[in-house]
Subunit: 407 residues, 2 copies
Amino acid sequence: MEQITGGVTAAKGFAAASTAAGIKYKDRTDMAMIYSEVPCNVAGTFTKNIVKAAPVKWDQKVVYETKKAQAVVINAGIANACTGEEGMSYCKATAEEVEKQMQIPAEQVLVASTGVIGMQLPIDRICAGVNVMIPQLQGDLESGHKAALAIMTTDTHEKEVAVQLEIGGKTVTVGGMCKGSGMIHPNMCTMLSFVTTDAAISQPLLLEALQADVEDTYNMISVDGDTSTNDTCVVLANGMAGNPEITEKNADYDAFRQALHLVNETLAKMMAGDGEGATALFEVKVIGAESKEQAKRLSKSVITSSLTKAAIFGHDANWGRILCAMGYSGAQFDPEKVDLFFESAAGKMQIIRDGVALDYSEELATKILSEPAVTAIADIKMGTAEATAWGCDLTFDYVKINADYRS
Amino acid sequence: MEQITGGVTAAKGFAAASTAAGIKYKDRTDMAMIYSEVPCNVAGTFTKNIVKAAPVKWDQKVVYETKKAQAVVINAGIANACTGEEGMSYCKATAEEVEKQMQIPAEQVLVASTGVIGMQLPIDRICAGVNVMIPQLQGDLESGHKAALAIMTTDTHEKEVAVQLEIGGKTVTVGGMCKGSGMIHPNMCTMLSFVTTDAAISQPLLLEALQADVEDTYNMISVDGDTSTNDTCVVLANGMAGNPEITEKNADYDAFRQALHLVNETLAKMMAGDGEGATALFEVKVIGAESKEQAKRLSKSVITSSLTKAAIFGHDANWGRILCAMGYSGAQFDPEKVDLFFESAAGKMQIIRDGVALDYSEELATKILSEPAVTAIADIKMGTAEATAWGCDLTFDYVKINADYRS
């Protein structure tokens, strides 16, 4: 398996387009479309927030009832959440516009929105945007790249990744794009993530693979502890790689799972590192755990601790806050057995042994914590399970962005 | 029942003192002592964090085994948490210093610390501080006030309150002081809170009253979602009011409970409003709930949402974030039935009805949200239960304070 350049248009048969539809932003693109030459098996995971945006409800019907999709329409700027019946009708209108222009059944069209909650979509502009994009749909990497740019909100850069591998003697590609930034604490799946593949895989297995993988990828990141109303991750598989269709959990399935995992993990880490206002990706590994569940709970508790995140911003080796956050996670462990290490491109050092501080160099610790990607490793010495979670630092800019997001 | 001036020295027979012991700060007091002329029945509630500071472990023994206390020694600057055996030995040494000088058994001396985690206490300075304070113990209100100042860390003002009421024909006083500010998300009890009363009440009933009351007061506030290693709330009852001892749940018990509740709620709200960097107290009431548990879960979820807190800082009526935070709380409700109101000294207005925004004036909403105390009221129309939680806004100063707390 190797990483290649590209995103949602890397796999065979997929095209993308984007446009400046004037939904809320000026002077930038804010709509994107993904299209497959042939209908795809589709899998999706969605927010567990009780308050679900209209497009989440629409896409759930596509994933669980239609089980096929051929096009995705995405807008940034307005989330179409808390918009009642009117909001639902706009999902339908968007899908029907695609049906009218492309003869794809509306129930095979996914829609996704991100932005301000509680505002209605300007449906005329959405439909006009769809009409502009359809003739521009192209399969080149540049079109996929522009789509990744168009779906950003407070993201500072586009996020895409693609990998290639052999399955059944055929070259299979898995590519994806996502946007994250704020209100990122996925519970089931993250804000908006779109993965395309030309692999041939049955819909039930595709869904199972995705559901299992989000638990270790998107569900292990947090920017601010707020689980969004719009979290959506969809995978479209159009089968155009020509591999024998994966219909059981054999070696081909495992290979596909690995590729899907690499794409999802890469996108998830990109989102964490580009959290609103963030200056650093903060990775927390808990090792020596009794169970994966325990390791996950501990590592997630640390990456969501405001105090720990502020200390990372200050390049301060404030390990007490890390131990404290582990302590209130709800997972059982013996604080007096914990070893803690910090690691980054600048080196690795042990900070505490058996719950008590070593006589370490604060200067070296600060140097390690000043890198753009920083890892804390906690060994709880109870077993062999482990888990990793990803977050970011808490900065002035996070507050600034969110104190006047709507204005 | 009426509120009176004073704090921990308001009740009969209590004295306090404070000193600048040079624990960590310069040019300010950082140690305080509370003393009762006679041994008190003592109740306490403590952090549920697995990582418990040494003084928490010490005080748990006093509350659950000795059940009596006559003195409390408090220091600010160093938390004596994650300090192993050495840290425990310093709790003992402090209590033994009091025993030596005052002939109070060490196991009737409570100790409490707040500040940086992982640093050892300068025990010589602590003992020297005890020796300075003992001869200065005074029962006047000013001494209590100075004690409230000495226990602050990043608090911007001292926090004390006292109330008086009649029980069994006698005037009973309940007074308290606390410190809060950061790492405030009590789970059982908050950072440090000390309540004194001259009421005569049996130890088991005192403990029961406290345990029930913290659930509706300290456990309903949050500054940053971080549950401290040091959370401690103790109540000392010396019986010097001369009321017939409260030994059963009669009208006298109810009257005492009300007084204790007023003291605890006032101190809890003071902590929330003076959260690190805060410019506003943010109160969230959930009404029309099926159960109190449901209302608590919903209101706490809103006050801990970073996005909502940043919006309050920006005086932005970003109600979508409130609904979103209710949605991921884990409590069940119908988002399409929610009514939401904002209220403050500047007025009250309805923002959403049945989950959808009304055509409200953003200008008036901003005016309401610009007050130093702001309330959001969510009616979920399922029943008659309700709950209130208190937090604060998320500001640049919170990040600033916590990015370089240790330096």
